[in-house]
């Protein structure tokens, strides 16, 4: 259902995604892993259509939503943020349901940008979930969160996945990847080195780069 065919993307002449092809498993969640600078965020943006590939193509059905590494909240109330992308007579009910899902219903009328980091990320998830996307892209949704907030966000992701939302996310947290992943895409210097079920990836990575990454020895990519 989500495919990339010979996808390439360069910025300022520097190749960032190099000839990447895959067809994702229908279930997921899909975890895109790889050292810093591997191209994970760029790949998510290509899949979501925020960036145009230089070559190749993406096929991913809509509706889609994306939550960014740093939540982008409007200067409005919590509820108004969830309502913003919604249309139709049931918008309000959907927004309230989404806020209840992430445990923010009591804060509906607070200014969104006064929330704590974890609350802001949960709000961004609620706003994405309220759009009822078929695919939800998450870029390091827990990068700046403490362990408790991370667990709360993971719980929400699990809930959405169980309810049928196709999750495609990046993470730099291997523990989180083990807890959530159905399959893994391992990127290194813009190349797709592995696409395997999560159990296989963590037990027996095929590439030496992935093995080094899992040992914690490959934290960032040397100049691509």
């Amino acid at each position: 259902m989500i495919r990339a065919d010979n996808l390439s993307f360069a910025a300022g002449g520097v190749p960032i995604i190099r000839d990447v092809s895959f067809a994702l498993d229908p279930d997921g969640p899909t975890l895109i892993l790889g050292p810093n600078g591997a191209g994970k965020s760029v790949l998510l943006r290509l899949l979501h259509g925020l960036l145009e590939p230089d070559a190749g193509q993406v096929r991913a059905p809509g509706p889609q939503a994306m939550v960014f590494q740093r939540p982008v909240l409007l200067r409005r109330s919590v509820l108004a943020n969830v309502l913003f992308p919604l249309r139709g007579p049931d918008a309000r009910a959907r927004a309230e349901q989404a806020l209840a899902l992430v445990g923010l219903q009591a804060m509906a009328h607070r200014p969104a940008r006064r929330l704590s980091g974890g609350e802001q990320q949960r709000l961004a998830l609620a706003r994405a979930a309220a759009q009822r996307p078929a695919i939800l892209f998450l870029d390091e949704p827990c990068a700046a969160l403490d362990p408790a907030a991370t667990r709360a966000v993971e719980e929400i992701i699990r809930h959405l996945a169980a309810a049928g939302t196709r999750i495609v996310m990046t993470s730099h947290d291997l523990g989180q990847a083990r807890r959530l992943a159905g399959e893994v895409l391992f990127l290194h210097q813009g190349r797709l080195l592995e696409h395997t079920p999560a159990t296989e990836f963590f037990a027996a990575p095929r590439s030496p780069e992935a093995a080094a990454f899992l040992r914690g020895e490959l934290l960032w990519a040397p100049g691509a």
Binding site: F68, V72, R75, P85
Partner: protein, 234 residues
Amino acid sequence: MNDLSSAIAQALGMLLHWDAGLLRIVGLSLRVSLTAVGVAALVGLPLGAALAVARFPGRGAVMAVLNALMGLPPVLCGLLVYLLLSRSGPLGAWGLLFTPTAMVVAQAALIMPILAALSCQLLRSLWEEYAEQLRSFGLSRLGAVPTLLWEGRVGLTTVLLAGFGRAAAEVGAVMIVGGNIEGYTRVMTTAIALETSKGDLPLAIALGLVLMLVVFGVNALAMALRGWADRSGH
């Protein structure tokens, strides 16, 4: 020294007794400058917003022209509007020269580039923050403009206040196109200039105090607004 203290005493007397002539001058000043801000905002804010989100060849040149116009001396602006509205000018048939309307036109022309350039700067940083998220919601660049204007409402209000302060305090443009006609086109700044040169200090001092109050008041309002926005998460 005695002259000065008696002039100040007379000025305070005019203020305390709401002197009718003084009130008319202050009233016209506020009316002209507020209308000028409104007119300039109708052009300047959408222009600033469009420049903030649009990508077209020549965008840099438009920005450079706007930035240059921000520093246009008021007398020059007055002269240009004078040439436009004078009997032999292109809009001379409208008979607007030496009317409050001409003063509104001159002040609006003076501050429009300021409003456009400042709002463009403000909305551009908002656009950098919001562009991807708004596109993810399915909004186009131009479709995002109303959202950007609303998200920037606090900053844009301080931009409008700055524009009003500049309009209310300038003297060159309204002097040239208004003519400082008593009871008709005389505003605070032109009256202060004229009365001081005539040696009639009480009215000049009284108007000076009011003008100072207006300018400080606008600044205080802008600061209060920013403080409130910071505290309330806007």
